[in-house]
């Protein structure tokens, strides 16, 4: 009987019949394939994407009941199902079944002869687990790439067999589903591995922080040992370190060098441990012999520090060369120009400046302006002009109230008016340009 879509009679319309406009079935199949691929993106999680995929397959083939089983811990467990009661027990992943799944990627119709023993056994197991479920088609999923699954489908609502077009569509969908499941397993593995790595990284960070704390404590302990012997140098090492690091960062030295300069600045005077206390504390100028002894402290610093494996380069060398001057008049070796590393040039200036503005047993501190004048007059002969420029810039920034992370220059109580100092620094900087 022809389909009457314009009827207004109160009886039921005949919906049934095969007379559909041309291309309707093909369009439905194409739309179903599109819906199927969208499932993987639209599902909020893996199970929801599987649930949606199962619904599209059932809807496309007019099948009432279906279940998707994935292999977990040596058995196939129901991951999602439709039309079936909850709590279905898992089925055994027998050797025969796994072998059969590896051999076949096409949906297997149970009514056909030559269905392998493994598949038959699996279907019997499923039907025993869910008596209301008669499996008509069993689709192998993803066995080729090592993540096996099964899609068990019940009869169509009409009781008829799947058409050729439906079987082909089902084959395409199960192939896509296999890829989706494999991808999910790979991504899950990556996430799991990533979590393990992150835990490892956090643990390493914790250990590293602990080691760094021990390391800096050791450095500070060494510096404190010198200061205990020579109270006039109290705080000197930390102040030199701050100034040196500020200059080194201003010169954009690599981070490892900056750290080496920081440590060498803190420890540059460690060799004074070998200098007698009477010389360090002597309230009058030193005689020639005493002078020679005090001049030995950079070499002693080098000898002490070269025993330590610092994580930064040349710390011991930087400490040895912190009294070397560009014109070769420094000590212990009278190195010149390029024989003196940039780090040692930086520490030399920072050390000299802090010594000038500090009280010493044999003299009072210089005023800030006098110390700056001394530094300025010794640029090129003693101190590197680039280091000097960066030193003046850093001091200028701090005096002008500019943004420094933390104050670099401390204990400059005797400084004259800020305006005079800034004017002096500006003149020095303009000379250096």
């Amino acid at each position: 009987m022809p389909l009457d879509i314009s009827t207004s009679r109160p009886e039921a319309n005949r919906l049934d019949g095969d007379r559909l406009p041309a291309g309707r079935r093909e369009a439905f199949t194409l739309k179903a394939l599109r819906d199927f691929t969208l499932c993987f993106a639209r599902g909020r999680d893996f199970d929801e994407s599987l649930h949606l995929a199962l619904m599209v397959i059932l809807g496309t083939c007019s099948i009432v009941k279906g279940a998707l089983l994935l292999q977990e811990d040596g058995e196939f467990r129901i991951r999602v199902s439709r039309g079936l009661p909850p709590g279905i027990p898992p089925i055994e992943a027998s050797k025969e079944l796994l072998a059969a799944l590896r051999r076949s990627i096409q949906p297997v119709r149970m009514g056909k002869p030559a269905v392998s023993k493994g598949i038959r056994q699996a279907v019997a197991d499923i039907e025993r687990a869910v008596p209301a479920f008669s499996v008509e088609v069993l689709c192998p999923l993803g066995a080729r790439n090592g993540s096996p699954g099964l899609l068990a489908l019940g009869p169509r609502i009409t009781g008829e067999a799947l058409t050729l077009q439906q079987r082909e569509t089902l084959s395409v969908m199960t192939s896509l589903l296999s890829s989706h499941i494999s991808n999910h397993r790979v991504i899950s593995d990556i996430f799991r591995l990533n979590e393990v790595l992150q835990i490892q990284v956090r643990e390493n960070d914790r250990l590293l922080t602990g080691m760094q704390e021990i390391y800096f404590d050791t450095i500070r302990a060494l510096a404190t040992a010198i200061e205990a012997k020579d109270p006039y140098t109290r705080g000197h090492s930390e102040r030199v370190a701050k100034i040196s690091v500020s200059i080194a960062k201003g010169l954009e030295l690599p981070e490892k060098e900056v750290q080496a300069i920081r440590i060498a600045s803190i420890l540059h005077d460690v060799g004074k441990i070998g200098t007698s206390r009477s010389i360090l504390m002597k309230p009058s100028p030193l005689n020639a012999e005493e002078f020679l002894e005090i001049r030995r402290h950079p070499q002693t610093s080098f000898e002490i520090l070269s025993e330590i494996r610092f994580p930064y380069p040349d710390v011991a060398l930087l400490a040895r060369d912190h009294h070397e001057w560009l014109d070769g008049t420094g000590y212990p070796e009278g190195k010149r120009e390029c024989q003196i590393s940039m780090g040692a040039r930086i520490i030399a200036l920072a050390d000299a400046f802090d010594a000038m503005v500090s009280d010493r047993p044999y003299r009072d501190s210089l005023s800030l302006l006098a110390a700056l004048g001394e530094i300025r007059s010794c640029l090129r002969s003693h101190y590197d002009p680039n280091v000097g420029r960066m030193f003046f810039r850093s001091l200028r920034t701090e005096l002008a109230g500019g943004a420094q992370e933390a104050p670099v220059f401390t204990g400059l109580e005797k400084r004259p008016s800020r305006a005079d100092t800034l004017a002096f620094i500006d003149r020095a900087l303009s000379d250096l340009h």
Binding site: L3, I5, T7, S8, P10, E11, A12, N13, L15, D16, G17, L20, P21, R24, R25, F28, K31, A32, D35, F36, R42, E48, H51, L52, M55, V56, L58, G59, T60, S62, I63, V64, R82, G83, R156, I157, T158, E160
Partner: protein, 117 residues
Amino acid sequence: MSYLTVRTRKADEVLVVYIDGYLNSLMGEEVERVVREALDAGCRKILLSFEGTRLINSIGISIIIDIVEKIMDRNGTLAFCALSRINRELFQMTGVARYVQAFDREEDALGYFDQSA
């Protein structure tokens, strides 16, 4: 685009379920829930009205098939009304049509339930 509103009304013994919007996502399981609860409460006459249904896709078909199966299991009666031409063809193509009477208007469908009582 996906929205779905499921409304119901009781017309004597018949539960009329109005499916407004898109029957193309998991939101459609709301229709299943409404029908299941009605069946559990003893109702055996269900009319699905598709007047406000904008689209049914393969997921929607899966939902409708499930409802057809559940009502047949409980010896209930199911009818559709106000189907668009496209949805009529869809039910025809998927075989659902063989098990469900369809009417143009809701009152005609309600009359059918009266007769089958």
